[in-house]
Symmetry: C2
Subunit: 339 residues, 2 copies
Amino acid sequence: MATQPVAAGRPATIHDIAALCGVAASTVSRALANPDRVNIRTRERIQAAAAELNYTPNSQAKALSSGRTGAVGVLVPDITNPFYFDLIRGTQLQLKAAGYTQLLVDTEESDEVEASTLEQLRKSADGVIVAASRLNDEALADAAARMPMVTVNRDVDGVPAVLIDTPSAMPQALDHLISLGHTSVAYVGGPAVSQSSARRWGALSAAAESRGVEVRSLGPFAPKTQSGAAAADAAVHSGVTACIVFNDLIAIGMLQRLRERGLRVPEDMSIVGCDDIFGADFCNPPLTTMSSPIEQAGRVAVSMLLAQLNPLAGGGNRSRSIMPTHLTVRGSTGAAPSV
Amino acid sequence: MATQPVAAGRPATIHDIAALCGVAASTVSRALANPDRVNIRTRERIQAAAAELNYTPNSQAKALSSGRTGAVGVLVPDITNPFYFDLIRGTQLQLKAAGYTQLLVDTEESDEVEASTLEQLRKSADGVIVAASRLNDEALADAAARMPMVTVNRDVDGVPAVLIDTPSAMPQALDHLISLGHTSVAYVGGPAVSQSSARRWGALSAAAESRGVEVRSLGPFAPKTQSGAAAADAAVHSGVTACIVFNDLIAIGMLQRLRERGLRVPEDMSIVGCDDIFGADFCNPPLTTMSSPIEQAGRVAVSMLLAQLNPLAGGGNRSRSIMPTHLTVRGSTGAAPSV
DNA sequence: ACGGCCTTGACAACCGATTGCCATTCTCTG
DNA sequence: CAGAGAATGGCAATCGGTTGTCAAGGCCGT
């Protein structure tokens, strides 16, 4: 067979290379994937031909025959929540570095969308990273049994997880408020199905008890700035002088609402957020909040998932990874009103 | 052949269904994809079996044999830039509604990453949506010739595009500043390779000329809040009393820097941003900026792409779509210093 | 110089669908 | 009732790779 002209239209396949080199397609496959199995001279000829034909493997075909897709699903409840930006960027960078493709899906805060997405991904992805799952424990454990999974901010038995350790910073935040003279504090809760919110509230109420401070729980509120208005009104009505808020989105919304109502922050009310999202540093006043390395959390989640996928490649696979959190004090907290 | 037990482990295939119904696999394929070609009784038996086995087609296999992948790539220069959040959400929603999967890629503001991603996507996606491309016209037109493409905020001959019409709001912004008494204005430019920035500057300088106002150009600056510091310093040094800034990210960074330097906004300097991103309404002071329906732009881009993919399904496929823009006045603009 | 082991590379089955082509059956018409 | 034509469904090739199996050949030691 003579040298095939480079078909201008369609990308080259291993068959083109095989024809060009006068070997079988399978030899080409091996030469490229498993170089030791092929004579060095043949291999070099093949590699040269591949380069010449500008060959790139067809990922669909590869996926079909090998069972591995080279894709990882990343599920977040709401793409427009800035908290997930950094997470997504972390997963994206790490996945790309490992040669994987990221399939990003917004589950719209819905457990049904999440479940159906997981079912679909089961065939089209090698694994998934699920952030802030809205699924119940059973459904989540079930899904994790069917395909490699790492959760973020969700702790279920048997499912590897990356946890942003905001709860452990709760006592710190409370002490900060106490030192400013606050004795009446509210926790502004997130979605009822959010395990993060429950964990944060648990840590806060425990800390409050050991310090003899009254902390009440408000909510639930949707994690959006718009919810901040209702949250602010509830906080004012409850008579507290400081709030620790489920996340910065709600906290920023509260800031706006309090300003509208003519209340000053922090003179009349102190606000502490969680997550230190984009915007927390330039809102008015800048938000005191709990910071943690979110992008790194994304990278760690990917590493844990890849460790599951390639059990060989070193690294004992931890089943949980905790990201440290600390309080970042800015302008939204101050001395309690002297009344 | 007896009824096969539902293999608990592995998802069902058309062969399982075929065996269960006693027909050939191809008949199953037809019954599901092209119902008219199959007798209604057979079809119903097959559909029932499919439902019972909880069958979902393997997208890899489907892609391989049909050539269509059911995926669309979405390329953005920087995932963490809030401007793209809404765009991404728009594309995601519309793609999902049409049964497509979104492949989101962050090209890291790099033309090389963009080019290689495009080449890779050529095999694994049916089309791409490229936002704020960093590629030169030739390379982009070339890529568009190889696969269906829609650009956002990038106008190249022969490539369908969605344009956010910020330039047309430039005169409005300038008039707003003029009415406040400003006579010396700077345009704070974005990346040199950004066509958006060039178009905005062009519109602004034209408007300035027709109004007899002096407008100078500063920059280029990277589209990040951190660049705002340098931009602010340059603006102060140039002696202008108002800035129209390439985007809100830089504008917000400028706000922070000006505050650090003890300059008041808008008393000492007025700032106008572009895009009305998340945060523009709650920064300090709230940012006067050019707003437009970004999420809708994403949806429109998807519609235009799908029109290319399925030429049949009605709708003359426009090659350009312009999204309206208007000035949103907030607190960052005010009367020129009386000096 | 011969037997056995290891290396090398070809063949072919397979992954799960799609689709062109053909054979059979059914229906309608003349 | 025969024949034309449509409806129906099966066979097998195909997409682009991966991978198990095996034959041929080279090298070694004895």
